[in-house]
């Protein structure tokens, strides 16, 4: 400590003389206050600027005394068994990435991550976690990405993600989950904005279809290579996702299997669905009215037991579960019923039911509902924007342009102007700055008429007592026209003739 202090003193004193009482006071204060101690790099680790890498060193215990300036800490490919509460002894304020993959971690103590509160990326892949206990990730309130690939996770306890509010991407593939972790989306206090969930290669069989329909509006959820139980509801979901070009389905279509059978080959036993091509329907209703929207492409009467889902702008509903508090419900025959439409009900509604086939590109199971005078902000069918709007905008622009041009031309050509030989007051009779040069009859006689008889130039109004040194000839002369023109680059040129080849306009 003394060495550090004297290093710091080195800046105030040359040669180390310190007989100044203020300096001793500072020394004392420094000793008592925060002295940044620079921890050396632990053995088996490499410390490079803001990275510490202890990867591949066969460590069975976490290195003691890791420097706390690191933004990235890599402890992968070791033999760690657990993450204890005291795995670091001081807070790591700068740590944003922690890699603990390819170890043998089977236990994470609660509050193990309290001292790394700013972590953004945590990789615990390829370990031996079997269960995610409650509050296991306490302290990781800023975590955005969590990798738990290739563990043996069979259960996620409630409250496991209670602190991880900022989580956006969660990888849980290659684990042993049997139930869909709905708590990730529905628990209060959990992730508020989970947009990416990878549950591929688990043991999921039964899925909560309605919740998935609702959640998949905002999140991509990967479910390939699970032994899914393919009832008509699941088939409805997969058909719908495929129609919506849902990324997880587009990328992994071939890997969705129903207990070993490819999805395509599973027939939904509730037949009787019509093959009528699906066309989007439009409905207009006044607030307070009741509305019934039949499911497009669904032939009535409906098979017993068939569940019909509707995806609404806010959530999803289905024909079996009814929410008494909601004014929206799905009748047993699949029809969506609005018991008193509200303005905010305007939007696009999609009927999701197993239709036993892939949809053609131009087909759509949509029903567009407009309540009152509100307009629908369409997210799915952007091409349907009313062409009338475009036309109006274009017409207005064109009309105003044309009118402006007409006005300018009127101003230029209809303002009376007399051709005079003298400058000065003559210019005022022709509008502010424009003078139309009239052709001089003498010029015609001399045969030096130019190709264009008239030119439009912008001239400065000449002051009577101008003392411009360059001699100016009158505007109209026999041989040439001398103008004080303003070139493209804004510079003034005086005395150029219009025949001057360098005079570019």
């Amino acid at each position: 400590m003394h060495a550090v202090a004297s290093q710091l003193l080195g800046r105030t004193n040359v040669g180390g003389s310190c007989c100044n009482p203020a300096v001793e006071a500072m020394l004392l204060l420094l000793c008592l206050g925060f002295i940044p101690t620079v921890a050396p790099c632990p053995p088996h680790c490499l410390c490079a600027s803001d990275i510490i890498s202890c990867s591949g060193s066969n460590l069975s215990a976490l290195p003691f005394g890791l420097p706390s300036y690191a933004t990235r800490l890599d402890l992968s490919h070791n033999a760690l068994r657990a993450v204890h509460v005291d795995w670091v002894s001081q807070p790591f304020h700068w740590l944003t990435t922690l890699v603990l993959s390819w170890n043998s971690i089977s236990q994470i103590e609660v509050a193990a991550f309290i001292l790394t509160p700013h972590l953004l990326h945590l990789d615990l892949s390829s370990n031996q976690l079997g269960v995610l206990n409650s509050s296991i990730f306490t302290g990781l309130t800023e975590l955005k990405e969590l990798l738990l690939i290739g563990n043996q996770i069979a259960q996620i306890m409630p409250g496991a993600f209670s602190d991880v509010n900022s989580l956006q991407r969660l990888y849980l593939s290659v684990n042993s989950l049997t139930t869909f972790p709905l708590g990730l989306f529905e628990d209060p206090g959990g992730p508020r904005n989970l947009t990416f969930l990878d549950l591929s290669r688990n043991r999921l069989s039964k899925l909560p279809i309605q919740s998935l329909l609702s959640v998949s509006r905002h999140a991509v959820i990967y479910l390939q290579e699970n032994p899914l139980l393919c009832d008509c509801a699941l088939i409805a979901l997969l058909e719908y996702w495929l129609w919506k070009q849902y990324r997880p389905l587009v990328d992994f279509q071939g890997e969705y299997q129903c207990r070993g059978t490819a999805v395509r080959e599973v027939k939904c036993t509730h037949g009787g669905l019509s093959d009528v091509p699906l066309v989007a329907q439009n409905y207009q209703v006044e607030p307070g009215e009741w509305l019934r929207v039949p499911c497009p492409g669904l032939k009535l009467p409906v098979q017993e037991g068939l569940i019909v889902f509707w995806v609404t702008p806010k959530t999803a509903v289905n024909s079996t579960a009814s929410d008494p508090s909601s004014h929206l419900s799905v009748l047993p025959n699949g029809t969506l019923e609005f018991q008193g439409a509200l303005m905010e009900d305007s939007g696009i509604y999609e009927c999701v039911v197993a239709r036993g086939r892939y949809y053609d590109l131009e087909e759509s199971p949509e029903a567009r509902v407009m309540v009152g005078n509100s307009t629908i902000s369409s997210t799915t069918s952007l091409a349907r924007r009313s062409s009338g709007e475009h036309f109006n905008t274009a017409f207005t622009t064109l009309a105003s342009c044309v009118i402006s041009i007409i006005l300018v031309l009127l101003y230029l050509y209809l303002t009376p102007c007399q051709c005079r030989e003298s400058r000065g007051g003559g210019s005022r009779g022709c509008g502010a700055r424009a003078i139309i040069l009239c052709s001089d009859p003498r010029e015609v006689e001399s045969g030096q008429r130019r190709a264009n008889g008239k030119r439009v130039v912008f001239l400065e109004p000449q002051a009577d007592d101008s003392d411009i040194s360059v001699p100016k000839t009158p505007v109209m002369t026999l041989d040439h026209v001398s103008t004080e023109g303003i070139l493209k680059n804004g510079s003034r040129t005086v005395g150029h003739t219009l025949t001057d080849p360098t005079h570019t306009t």
Partner: protein, 351 residues
């Protein structure tokens, strides 16, 4: 295959790969090939373009040869890990396709030669880690090229074989660039110029000097391990300006973090505003002080400043981690720093 496949992450770590030819799906975003025995990488490692690949880990492979076409099919790469390998030289072609690369890890190789154009096409490069190699020449051109972009953050050439630092050039750079230039653990030649640089960076609490204070060593005629900060050179003061009455003094606020909102304070903690005529603040031509990561200068006409008084420049940032205060001292007279200790100590010494 023995690889572990998640949805967009493919991990083939420690699976014994040697010659690599992988037919990877187009949606792959992260590819982990670390801890294998891939000693040479040719263009054929992937037959197709992988336009969504952002991260590629090739560390710990004993890699000694990278063909000039090795990364031609992965142009959208943002993070590339080549650390812990056996690379010896970096030619101008290897990284040419990687125009989106942001972070490049090259530490713990055997690099002794770097072509001057090795990184010239990497317009998005933010962090370049090259510590623990055999580099003998400080790659100033990388710093000069990349520091023109506002995104550059870090150049690590620590633990190499560099003997000479371009001290003058380094001192002209902005504080937020110096903050990320790590050069400790090199066999530098002792000089008072070097002391000035290290001492001033240390005083400014720049990460590159502060975090590794004990590791800045130099040598005189072969004998190493003299701590630079212990050299017997003249005192370094930072940002002390002397001026006389009736002059206009221009003070610069050069912060080690970008995007700081900067305000100026006159003696007596009077904030500077256009209302009181005392000073004119120039935020580098930008209206929002938050935009002025380059500089914020205050011009003080000195009629009203008392002798020995102190003005300050404070920079605040939105960084969740901390607030940073940069203090300037401006002396009307010739007071030695010693008497100002109390004032100076008020400023927090926490980082």
């Amino acid at each position: 295959m023995l690889c572990v496949c998640a949805s967009d992450i493919i991990s083939c770590s420690k699976v014994g790969l040697t010659n690599v030819t992988l037919d990877l799906p187009q949606h792959t975003v992260v590819l982990d090939l670390s801890f294998n025995s891939i000693t040479e990488l040719y263009a054929a490692w992937t037959p197709k373009h992988l336009n969504r690949l952002q991260t590629m880990l090739l560390n710990n492979n004993g890699l000694t040869f990278l063909s000039s076409e090795a990364f031609v099919h992965v142009k959208k790469l943002r993070y590339l890990d080549l650390s812990y390998n056996g690379l010896i030289l970096l030619d101008e072609f290897i990284f040419e396709p990687l125009e989106h690369l942001e972070v490049l890890w090259l530490f713990k190789n055997r690099i002794s030669q770097i072509d001057r154009y090795a990184f010239s096409t990497m317009g998005a490069l933010q962090k370049l880690y090259m510590s623990h190699n055999q580099i003998s020449r400080f790659p100033l051109e990388v710093l000069k090229e990349r520091s023109k972009e506002d995104t550059f953050k870090l150049l690590d050439v620590s633990s190499n074989k560099i003997k000479v630092l371009p001290v003058q050039e380094l001192q002209t750079m902005r504080a937020w660039i110096k903050n990320g230039v790590y050069f400790h653990n090199n066999p530098l030649t002792c000089s008072c110029e070097l002391y000035n640089l290290v001492a001033s960076w240390h005083l400014r609490e720049l990460n590159s000097a502060f975090d590794f204070a004990g590791n800045h060593t130099c040598g005189v005629s072969g004998k190493q391990h003299e701590k630079i900060l212990n050299l017997n050179c003249s005192e370094v003061k930072i940002l002390i300006k002397e001026a006389y009455l009736e002059q206009t003094l221009v003070l610069d606020c050069d912060t080690k973090h970008k995007y700081m909102e900067k305000t100026w304070v006159l003696p007596g903690n009077i904030p500077v505003s256009s209302a009181n005529d005392s000073a004119i603040v120039d935020h580098g031509g930008k209206d929002d002080p938050r935009d002025s990561f380059h500089s914020s200068t205050a011009s003080l006409p000195l009629e009203h400043v008392e002798r020995g008084a102190e003005a300050g420049g404070f920079a605040f940032g939105d960084a969740a981690m901390q607030k940073i205060k940069d203090q300037l001292e401006q002396n009307g007279g010739l007071n030695p720093i010693g008497e100002k200790d109390e004032e100076w100590l008020r400023v927090s010494r926490k980082r």
